[in-house]
Structure formats: structure tokens, C-alpha cells
Point group: C2
Chain length 423, copies 2
């Protein structure tokens, strides 16, 4: 065991050194060359489709044997359409504006020093994910766009697929003139290797864990590298005492039902007591049509006998399913208080015709995205016009909410003088 750990540590150090070297080359790559590299990656993915599908069939066989559900197997499958999708994603990222070298501020100080703050790549980014193998290409593409080298650690069930994709991308980077190491995949799937990687703050500048609460907590506990969490979304809507009832029902239905498995889907609905009797009948009709299970407190269950009791745990829970917690509240203040207590600071909205309440909601709800009269489902890089998205940060540091390539950069102060010294 110790020998194996030592071996992994050494291999990880070599990976780290390679990544840093590749990141230095990426950092000074001209925008056109970076776009060409991403397009090359897309070309190479298409050319390598047979070997990628072969690697994927190993994962599919393993998944069948280990008893993955048909939904999980479907997510794991790579067919021609999905490989085309990955290539298209890379070409779209290639076509976006380059996020590096943007001048954020520029001042000339009284002593004549000119100080420019410009965007630069972060360096090396590690991404730990559990999801579908196409994340390998999507995540690598955004990192490269922002001039970063990337070390990926995907789920064990997709290991062969991820490895095949990462190898193709890294080869394309080398063919584009970059040193070996722009895209690397951790060659082990055990937790010990991840834990070793999470101490490599000498080489890695940022870790992004994408997955369940357990994964994220484990990464936070082990990492000496800065982490940006992509945590759960316990999203709320509050139906205010005055609002367009028809709009309220439509927004609630969309937020809950359009894709319940998404982190920006609705989990808890708060209803002002004074509108409850008008709102609930059309709302119930909509929820019944969508087979949504309702869970509520005593007051709500008195109005809606079919509702089940809601527990304290439910109110903290990200159902990701056709289940909705409902609470009747006194007013906007109680709604804000509920959201700040039980929410996950992701996406929360108010449906209201009272401007003061909207402004109060915006000011006091401590979430990455707050909505007025719109579905929470819009919290998404594409919907926000950011282009491809690496995820949705639930942290407050560095990036909050949907994160695109812009959020994978740092800054540098460039100071131009003519002999200035400090007195």
C-alpha cells in the first residue's frame, strides 16, 4: 500500500510538472492559435471516433456487469451523435471571445506609474466529476480557452471512455505545438490518488469538484488547493400577496417540472397567506397534471388534504424529482428568512406586483441569483449569454453563479515606470 501510494505520488508530481509546463506555453498562446488548437481537438475527436466508441464499449460492458440502471447506462453511452456533440462544443468554445489579456482597469498614478490590471490564465485546473464522459471534452475545452492546463478525474464507471477522450485532446494539443500535458486524466480511480492530488498546491491552482454533496465535502476536507464548489441547489419561489396568478402558476410549473433533475429546479414553494386561497386551486391543477408530490406543513395540508407532511430535513433537501415542499408564510420578510435559513444560496425568486417587496427580496436574499417574475431554471451559462459553462458556483469567492471561461482567469498588475522609486 505505502509503495503504491509513493508510486502514485511520484507519478502525480510528474503530471503536475507537465501540467505547469503546458500551462506556461498556453498562457502566452495568441488567441488565434488557441482557437486553432481547440478546433484541432474537435477534428481529432471526430477522427478518433472508432477508438473512443471501442473504449466506451469496455465501460458499457463493465456497467452492465456491475448492474447500472438503464438510465445510468444511457448517460454513459457514447455514440456518433454524442461524439459529434463534443466536437461541436469545442468548436463553439473556439469561436468565443478570448478571455485572456482583457484590460480590467488602467490608471496613471500622480508619480507617473501606469498600472494596468489584465486578465491572465489561472494556470493548472483540476476537475473532479462523476458525470457523463462528454464532460471530459467540455471541461477541458473551457479550461484551454482560458489558457489553463487541466487535470481531470472522472467517474470510475467511465474510466476507459474518459481516458480515450483525454488522450485524443492532449495529442491534438501537442500537434498544435504545445508541450505534452495540456490535458491529462488521472490514471487511477481510487480515492487515495485524489487525496494525494488535493495536496499538490505547488502545481495546481484551482480544484472544481462537480458532483454530490459527499464528494464536495470530501474534497473540501482534504484540499490545500483553493476549491470552487458546485453545490446543491435548494431553490425557492415566493408567491407574493399581489401578483399575476396565471404567471405565478406557469413559472412555478416551469421551475419544478421542466427538468426536475437540474440544480436550478424548484424545491420549495413559499406562498403568502393572503393569496393562498386564489393561488392554490390553479396551482394544484398544474401540479396534479405533472404528477408532483406535494409536502407541506399543517396549514397547507388543511387546504390541500392530498399533501404529505414536510419534515425539517425536506426543507434542506434537493429532491431533484417531482416532489415539492410548500410553506404558507406571513409575508415577504418571512419568505426571505426561510430562504436564508434553508436555502443553498443558489437561485431564488419572487413572483410579485409590489416593487418594494421585489427590491427587499433582491437586497436581502443571500443567493447567487435572485429572480423577479421568472423561472429559476434560467441560472445557466448559456441562458446568461456566457457561452459554454464549467458549472454553477455556489461559493462567494472568485466566481458566484454560472461560470464560463472568463471565470477561469486570474489577473496580473502590469506597472510601467520611468525610473520611479518609493520615497
Amino acid at each position: 500500500m505505502t509503495a503504491r501510494v509513493e508510486e502514485m505520488r511520484e507519478a502525480l508530481q510528474r503530471m503536475g510538472e507537465k501540467a505547469v509546463k503546458a500551462s506556461r506555453a498556453l498562457a502566452v498562446l495568441a488567441p488565434a492559435a488557441k482557437a486553432a488548437c481547440l478546433n484541432r481537438m474537435a477534428d481529432e475527436l471526430e477522427s478518433a471516433r472508432e477508438s473512443i466508441k471501442k473504449a466506451n464499449s469496455l465501460d458499457m460492458d463493465g456497467g452492465l456487469k456491475s448492474g447500472l440502471t438503464s438510465a445510468m447506462l444511457d448517460r454513459l453511452r457514447l455514440d456518433d451523435a454524442r461524439i459529434d456533440g463534443m466536437a461541436l462544443g469545442l468548436r463553439e468554445v473556439a469561436a468565443q471571445t478570448d478571455p485572456v489579456g482583457r484590460v480590467i482597469s488602467s490608471v496613471v498614478r500622480p508619480n507617473g506609474l501606469r498600472i494596468d490590471k489584465v486578465t491572465v490564465p489561472l494556470g493548472v485546473i483540476a476537475i473532479i466529476y462523476e458525470s457523463r464522459p462528454n464532460v471530459t471534452a467540455d471541461a477541458a475545452g473551457i479550461c484551454i480557452k482560458a489558457g489553463n492546463a487541466v487535470i481531470l478525474r472522472g467517474g470510475s464507471e467511465a474510466f476507459h471512455s474518459n481516458q480515450a477522450i483525454a488522450e485524443v485532446l492532449n495529442r491534438a494539443a501537442i500537434l498544435s505545438g504545445l508541450p505534452d500535458g495540456a490535458v491529462q486524466l488521472l490514471p487511477w480511480t481510487d480515492r487515495a490518488a485524489v487525496n494525494l492530488m488535493l495536496k499538490m498546491d505547488r502545481y495546481i491552482d484551482l480544484v472544481i469538484p462537480r458532483g454530490g454533496e459527499g464528494l464536495i465535502r470530501a474534497v473540501m476536507a482534504e484540499s490545500t488547493i483553493p476549491v470552487i464548489k458546485h453545490y446543491k441547489g435548494v431553490c425557492h419561489l415566493f408567491v407574493d400577496r399581489e401578483c399575476d396568478l396565471d404567471m405565478a402558476v406557469k413559472i412555478v410549473e416551469n421551475a419544478k417540472c421542466q427538468r426536475p433533475s437540474a440544480c436550478n429546479a424548484l424545491e420549495t414553494l413559499l406562498i403568502d397567506r393572503r393569496i393562498a386561497e386564489w393561488f392554490i386551486p390553479p396551482f394544484l391543477e398544474s401540479m396534479r397534471r405533472n404528477h408532483v408530490e406535494l409536502r407541506g406543513g399543517y396549514e397547507f395540508r388543511k387546504l390541500v388534504p392530498e399533501a404529505k407532511p414536510v419534515s425539517e430535513d425536506d426543507l434542506h433537501n434537493e429532491y431533484l424529482d417531482y416532489i415539492l415542499s410548500v410553506r404558507i408564510v406571513d409575508d415577504v420578510d418571512q419568505a426571505i428568512d426561510h430562504i436564508n435559513t434553508y436555502g443553498s444560496k443558489h437561485s431564488d425568486g419572487i413572483i410579485s406586483s409590489i416593487p418594494e417587496n421585489v427590491e427587499k427580496f433582491f437586497a436581502n436574499v443571500d443567493s447567487s441569483t435572485v429572480y423577479h417574475n421568472a423561472s429559476t431554471r434560467f441560472t445557466d451559462g448559456g441562458e446568461f449569454g456566457m457561452g459554454a459553462e464549467i458549472g454553477i458556483s455556489t461559493d462567494k469567492l472568485h466566481a458566484r453563479g454560472p461560470m464560463g471561461a472568463d471565470e477561469l482567469t486570474s489577473t496580473k498588475f502590469i506597472v510601467r515606470g520611468e525610473g520611479q522609486i518609493r520615497v
Copy 2:
């Protein structure tokens, strides 16, 4: 011991809850009210000067008994002038532009959604510091300016002074209408209490450790809260083969000697071989005049027999003293390579008349601040025109380089709709 830890944990939880409550009130405080609160803090500090000096005399007595050096005792001392200085600092911060509520971007999407990204406070910030007691007021002032509650943990030798100052500031916040908890000081000075605090990611949004390498490594290893490091400055200057020799000597002298104990002071000088014979004589004269000990490799010692040998460790070292490592290099490429290998990504400069070399240096040196023809000593919030500074981040995430109140904010997306749902 376990009972004591349990007791500390409970007390820390209460502190965390109070801090969150105060932060919510601070987050919605109007700019004028926040400025009034900071001015009130300044007033109360002045009114409480006798009790602050009394608390300080306890620390001074303790310091004398434990054998602090006279320089350390001097740093610990709070007299009327230093209390006036703290009050002035708070009034200056009060007068600065409010960093909260700034609209960073604003878009209207094709579906009519209007998305504004605005600055908001981070929430609760913990600051761990080892330095002089006036940091208590300075750090608290900047945090409050950005709408954050603060939990402070100062050095044990200044405990009574820090406690007196923190109590005055918190009382002033209460007198300004805020709930108890805007400014709190950890009431224990042992490591166990800090380690407990570093797991309180439920209450604390950011930890800033200010101190030596040991402190920072310990915080990184323990914290589950995001950390922004204020790490050492192993700063470099490179004297290029063509440059204004007189300017080069003056900048090197200033960077090394004007205040050697500062993190932005020069530690290693790199000289292009082709200019060495012209640069070294006036440079030596300047270093001798300032009693700077020179350490160099074989080639430099051949030219300067008085120089001592430089070790690999020296090249990584932040001397903070009248000592300078010197290395003769082949060209700008070798200088860049040296800085990226041995530096701490803080502040590094080139003295040169060759524009291509300057641009190459700017693009390739991976440091928070890069200089052309100016002293590294300018890396400072005040010198950069940011107003008061909480420190100089050596991290790449969230904030890099000098950090003022602007860098103690996060962002929030505010989305205004008219019934939009996602299709």
C-alpha cells in the same frame, strides 16, 4: 481538554450566528449609514483611549516579562498618536467610495430577461494576524466598509489590547443600530480555538491569514473555509543587457534598502552577463553604502570577492533584511525561468531599454505584479490608489496583489423578468 474544546465549539457557534446576523444587517446598510458607523467607531476609539492604553499596559508588562525585544515591544505599544492613527484610518475608510451595489455588467437577453451582476458583501470574514494591535482597527474597518462582519484572531502578546479595541468597535456598531456581532475577537489565543474556527464554513465565508509561512501553511491544512493567502514576497529585479545604468542602480537600491522588512522588498537581483562589468561597480558602491550583505554564485563572486556563497535555500528565501542574492544570467529568458522557479509570484521587475524583452517579461513572469523600470516597493494598496489595504494576496483566485475593500465583495446576479419560463 475535551470539555474545554466542546465549550469553545459552542461559544464559537454562538459567535458565528451573531456574525451572520450582523452581516445580514450590514449587507443592506445604505452607504451613508455605513460611513456614519465607521466614523462612530473612530469617535469611540478616541473616547476610549484611556481604557485602551490600560489594556495595552497589561500586554506591555507581559511582553517585558516574556522577554520581547525592544523592537517588538515598540510595535506592541499603543500611545495617543497610534490611537489617533487608528481613528484617522477609520475616517479615511469611511470617506472612500462604497464598494457594494456596483453594477459590474448588465445585459438584456433575447427573451427579455434583464440580468445585472452587482457587487454584494462576502458575509463574514475571519482574519488571523500576528502583527501590531492597530491591525485590529484597520482590518475591521475595511471589512465593515465592504459590508462584512469580521471575526478577528490576533497575536497572543497583544491580546488585551486587541480585545479592548474590538469591544469598542463592536459597541460603536451597536450604537449605530447594528446587531451585536459586527466586530468580534476570538477570546482564546490557543491553536485549538483557531482550528475549530477554521471548520466553521457554515458561518464564515473567507479566512485571511496574515503572518509567517508557518501560520499560513497551518491555516491551509486545517481550513474548510476558502482562504486567501498573504504569503511571502521573494521579489526579483532583472537588469537587462541594455538599460539606463544610473536608473538601474537607483531602483535596485530603493527596492532593497528603503524598507527591507516589507514583503515587496527585493530579495534576488539577476544581472545580464553582457552588462555586468558596467553595472557592478556603481551597484557595489550603493550596496556598500547601505551595508547590504551580498550572496552570489561562482561567477558573481569572481567579480565581487566580498560576496558570500549563495545556497539553493537562499534563492527561495525572503530575507526581510539587508541581504541580497545575486545571480548572473545569460539573458531575459534565463531571468524569467529563474523567477518562475524560485519566486513567490509576488512582485518582479525588469530594468531594460529593449521593448521586446519588457513585453516578454510581462507575458511570461507569472507574478501578481510585474514592473518595468520601477521599484518593486510600489506593490501596495495605497500606492496603487485603492485606499486602505487588507493585505497583498499571493493567491490567484478572487484577488491577486494588493487587496482593498473592493476585493472583500462578492457578486450577485439580479434577474428581472415578465413571466419568462425556460423552454
